[in-house]
């Protein structure tokens, strides 16, 4: 295979800027810590996760702060990505053809912009869950806030917290698998670039957008 860097037509395309990647990985790392600490408190079978944070008490202390950090980092990321995640008409078509998506028959699907409908869906699920986790988490944060709330509300918040965490984790599992499944995605979030072929195949509309942005058509005048 010839060296792509030598061939201008094969030069890689930047998918995520260094800032975006940093932001993403902050969210990811903090999410992992939050999730394992949360899971440790969620189910006895996973209580041993608490050792990663220095034991049960540290887990209890750190978890809400980790959650806060994750929320803040996620808000920044979400703000940057907001404009790429608006649902469009073709996204609905994409979703209707879920079977083709799962079976890797991408050629049958409508052209995809920077993010496909699945990614957008995950994006909104993340927003919804993190908002729910934030609000319910404050209510059950015993050390500072719980005393301001009734026990009934605390109980409800605990349920909301658990359910939204469950949804979030499942969504993240999907998100991660998607990164493994669609080869090259991981590179996009590590090196920041994708090959033109990758972009052409998975995000053709975005590829073309990028293309026209790099090579604007000469003015007709």
């Amino acid at each position: 295979m010839s060296d792509p860097t030598n061939d201008p037509s094969r030069r890689t395309i930047q998918r995520y800027t260094p800032n975006e990647r940093t932001n993403h990985w902050i969210v990811a790392i903090v999410f992992v810590l939050t999730a394992i600490s949360g899971l440790a408190l969620f189910h006895p079978a996973l209580y041993w996760f608490s050792v990663f944070l220095g034991g049960g008490t540290w887990t209890r202390i750190l978890h809400p702060f980790l959650g806060l950090i994750m929320t803040i980092a996620f808000v920044v990321l979400a703000a940057a990505m907001w404009k790429f995640n608006k649902m469009e008409a073709r996204d609905w078509q994409w979703l209707r053809q879920g079977r083709d998506v799962i079976n890797n028959r991408e050629e049958r699907l409508p052209e995809v912009g920077r993010f496909n409908a699945g990614q957008k869906l995950v994006f909104f699920v993340f927003i919804a869950c993190i908002l729910a986790l934030l609000l319910s988490g404050v209510v059950i944060w015993r050390e500072y806030f719980s005393l301001y709330f009734s026990i009934g509300l605390i109980r409800a918040a605990a349920v909301v917290h658990g359910v939204s965490a469950f949804i979030l984790i499942c969504a993240v599992v999907l998100h991660i698998y998607a990164g493994i499944w669609v080869k090259g995605s991981l590179g996009a979030m590590t090196r920041g670039t994708v090959t033109p072929g990758w972009a052409w195949k998975h995000h053709r509309a975005w590829f073309r957008e990028k293309l026209h942005a790099t090579h604007p058509r000469p003015r007709s005048d």
């Binding site: 094969r10 109980r155 349920v159």
Partner: protein
Amino acid sequence: MALQSLDIVRRSATTTASPSVRQAQTGTVAKLIDTTKCIGCKACQVACMEWNDLRDEIGTNIGAYQNPHDLTDQSWTLMRFAEYENPDKGNDLEWLIRKDGCMHCADPGCLKACPAPGAIVQYSNGIVDFHQENCIGCGYCIAGCPFDIPRISKRDHKAYKCTLCSDRVAVGLEPACIKSCPTGALVWGTKEDMQHHAAERVEDLKSRGFDNAGLYDPPGVGGTHVMYVLHHADQPQLYNDLPADPHISPAVGLWKGATKPLALTGIVLTALAGFFHYIRIGRNETHESDEQAAARETERARHE
């Protein structure tokens, strides 16, 4: 009676059975609080603090006899006072005084809610005990308790509540509050004996015109190892909002019940779905043909 046998029958955040072959053959223990004999002297409060080496704040008076104002990590029991004008007795005044504290439920909501293994245990004699060395201070027990009993210490952020003097009971003694009670409003024995004692008390109270006197041993939490004799068993809420029908909240049931295994299963299934998708369908890869197609398009764009 082998009260010294404090074998653990239930342990918080533990999915397997605790050693439970040894049972309290001579019955579980119970504290009976006879509100109709109680004079609200607070000897129990003091004896509790004294025995357990606790000292609450020297607070303020907020216009009531009740002091401290609420249960705290240092006050595991508290007299609550209510003035009630009984419409059935020509509005004669009654001073309903209730010793508040852990009820030692047979089905303890705190234990159910607790995420820290072994922080809350239930002994075979019925005592529900907190083990602070295992407590992580999350406060879930507070949300789990139908009676609003546990309190988190501001000093060490551990949860505390009445232990029913498990250390005394373990060596065959009665709890400190029981021993101190000057009027015999607090009595102690096997749960069965306490139920008999309560029945006698109820009969006596009925002879004194309290037709609704009765025993408070709420079935919603599987019965309790701290029970009340009430003059008005039909209206427990008169006694500073003693719940009429306490039970573990459905929210706690949901949170700590079926959702736990279901959620874990859901997460695992999600991961497995990915795994099998990978096995069956495989990765979605970019091929050289895609690169070439992309290159062509790039070229076209460059030359347009």
